[in-house]
């Protein structure tokens, strides 16, 4: 079953074409790695998928058109590149994760749509009794159990991103969208994050769309790859992408150009 279908999607951002007629799909259980240099339009595309960005073309969730899939939007877990919160925000890790809980009424509306399209929603955390227990289970998955009472501002960048993963997990997302989640995080913390990612894709069976510059991590974790720089250059099996030397060379050159541009 296709969880997500993006057809001919174009997006104008601040007067220029940030995304140009992109087509790809995401199947149930996929871990799709999206690669592309900075400014390639990945974040803009993600925002269109989660309903925060106007666009042309069609986006479908579980086969539903945009007009119909609104109740499914709260069931998408989204972790953005950087969350800019007040550094002294008086909230513990548990309190931040519990912000991800969705009211019963909203869950039910989404559940009806999922049932009608024949998707068997794998409820792991919602089945756990109390809200505080659901939060604790997610913290365990993200390896953050010992930090549950720590204030959010006291965490490192890597720990923080795992908190946001846990916050996205607590509602049992039907799709998890991660926008360069470990940019600027040290190698050790990145590895911990990748382990969590692998676990929630293989054990929790959550479909994931993940953008990253880390080709090595994508080659290890993803099963499919999309490569974009405003336009889509590739979409298919991981093995096919990594065996295409010409494509990898073009990607490396355009990433280098954008890197130089960013630093000038």
């Amino acid at each position: 079953m296709n969880v997500l279908e993006v057809s001919d999607v174009s997006i104008k951002y601040n007067g220029h074409l940030a995304v140009d007629k992109i087509n790809f799909d995401v199947k149930e259980g996929d871990l799709l790695g999206i690669v592309g240099p900075n400014g390639a339009g990945k974040t803009t595309l993600f925002k269109a998928i989660i309903g925060l960005q106007n666009h042309s073309g069609k986006i479908k969730l579980f086969g539903y058109d945009e007009a119909d899939y609104q109740p499914l939007l709260p069931l998408i877990g989204y972790v953005s590149q950087k969350v800019s919160f007040e550094p002294n925000f008086p909230a513990t890790v548990s309190e931040v994760v519990s912000m991800g809980l969705i009211p019963e009424k909203k869950l039910r509306k989404g559940a009806v749509l999922l049932k009608n399209c024949g998707y068997s929603w794998n409820l792991l955390y919602q089945k756990v009794g109390k809200d505080s227990d659901k939060v604790l289970e997610c913290l365990k998955t993200a390896g953050l159990e010992s930090l549950k009472d720590r204030r959010i501002g006291d965490l490192s960048g890597g720990e923080l991103q795992r908190v946001f993963i846990a916050k996205a997990l607590v509602k049992d997302p039907v799709l998890l969208i991660l926008d360069e989640p470990v940019t600027g995080v040290d190698a050790d913390a990145q590895n911990k994050f990748y382990n969590v990612l692998k676990k929630i894709n293989t054990e929790n069976k959550i479909t994931i769309v993940w953008s990253s510059h880390d080709l090595e991590a994508i080659s290890k974790l993803a099963n499919r790859v999309a490569c974009m720089n405003r336009k889509l250059f590739f979409h298919g099996e991981k093995e096919e992408f990594f065996s295409n030397k010409e494509l990898l060379k073009t990607y490396a050159e355009s990433a280098m150009q954008m890197h130089m541009h960013d630093h000038n």
Binding site: P74, E86, P90, E95, M99, G100, R151
Partner: protein, 282 residues
């Protein structure tokens, strides 16, 4: 100190109304401070000043005109901020000077300051009637009930507006509700410390509580306790010292902040990284 003053009816009314006001200011203030809207209360109270002048000028009960002008101004500026992409501090400045401008204009048109205006500028909690006290209690209960009902959405909105929107919260509607609640809080609280000192009740207990480095629930509890104790002790102390209650209340809150900073300096409050900076410094 003998506490026979607690038997006086005007003190009782002042204490009850003051405690209710301190609770809503502290609760509302927590969200305002964390959203970096610390001076929003000040801007709203200056709009209220314009509204009061309008009331005194037209003969309409000033609190109603204050409420109408504040809410309309705050909603207008929220809309303008979103559509014209004006930054938060600039939006607050526009609101503040507009309110003051209207006020000065109407006062000069009506032939100068009137005595009534001073009670709004500096507060007059010990002069309230039983009806005023009941009105303050009723409004405060409404504000607390709304905040309790919306606490999860408001916390999410305050922490990360984009994520709140993704999780299905109607952030535009919630922002408008938030602004109206803030206006109601400010107008209700003007009787306690006056227009000029309203920000003290909104900001001081919250930044003091945040410095303790606790989670949200505990920080809110700390802020409310400090706010209520500063108002209650301020009213009682002002009677014995024969000083204006508003000034005493504010200076007690300032002392609590300074005391907490000193405790932090000598490391009594622990080593949490998050208590090293005040929100305004971050």
């Amino acid at each position: 100190m003998n506490l026979e003053i607690l038997g006086y009816s005007f003190i009782q009314k002042g204490l009850i109304a003051g405690a209710a006001i301190s609770i809503i200011c502290s609760l509302m203030g927590m969200f305002l401070v964390l959203r970096r809207y610390s001076l929003f209360g000040d801007a709203l109270s200056h709009m209220a000043f314009g509204g009061i002048s309008l009331g005194l000028f037209t003969g309409i009960y000033p609190l109603w005109t204050a409420f109408a002008v504040s809410v309309l101004g705050a909603l207008g500026i929220t809309k303008l901020r979103k559509s014209a992409k004006i930054s938060g501090d600039a939006a607050i400045a526009v609101l503040l000077v507009s309110g003051l401008g209207i006020g000065v204009l109407l006062i000069s048109a009506s032939g100068g300051f009137k005595v009534d205006l001073f009670s709004f500028l500096f507060g007059s909690i010990l002069l309230i009637s039983t009806e005023d006290m009941l009105l303050i209690l009723g409004i405060s209960s409404g504000v607390v009930a709304t905040l309790v009902a919306l606490r999860k959405q408001l916390l999410h909105l305050t922490f990360d507006e984009e994520q709140a929107q993704v999780s299905g919260i109607n952030t535009d509607r919630l922002n408008y509700v938030f602004v109206v609640l803030a206006s109601v809080t400010v107008i209700t609280s003007m009787r306690l410390v006056g227009i000029l000192l309203i920000s003290a009740l909104i900001v001081l207990p919250n930044i003091t509580a945040i410095m303790f480095g606790k989670g949200f629930k505990k920080t809110v509890a700390l802020s409310v306790s400090m706010s209520v104790s500063s108002v209650v002790s301020g009213i009682i102390l002002s009677y014995y010292l024969d000083l204006a209650p508003s000034g005493v209340i504010v200076m007690i809150s300032v002392s609590m902040l300074v005391g907490t900073l000193l405790l932090k300096h000598v490391n009594v409050l622990g080593k949490s990284k998050s208590i090293q900076k005040l929100p305004s410094e971050a």
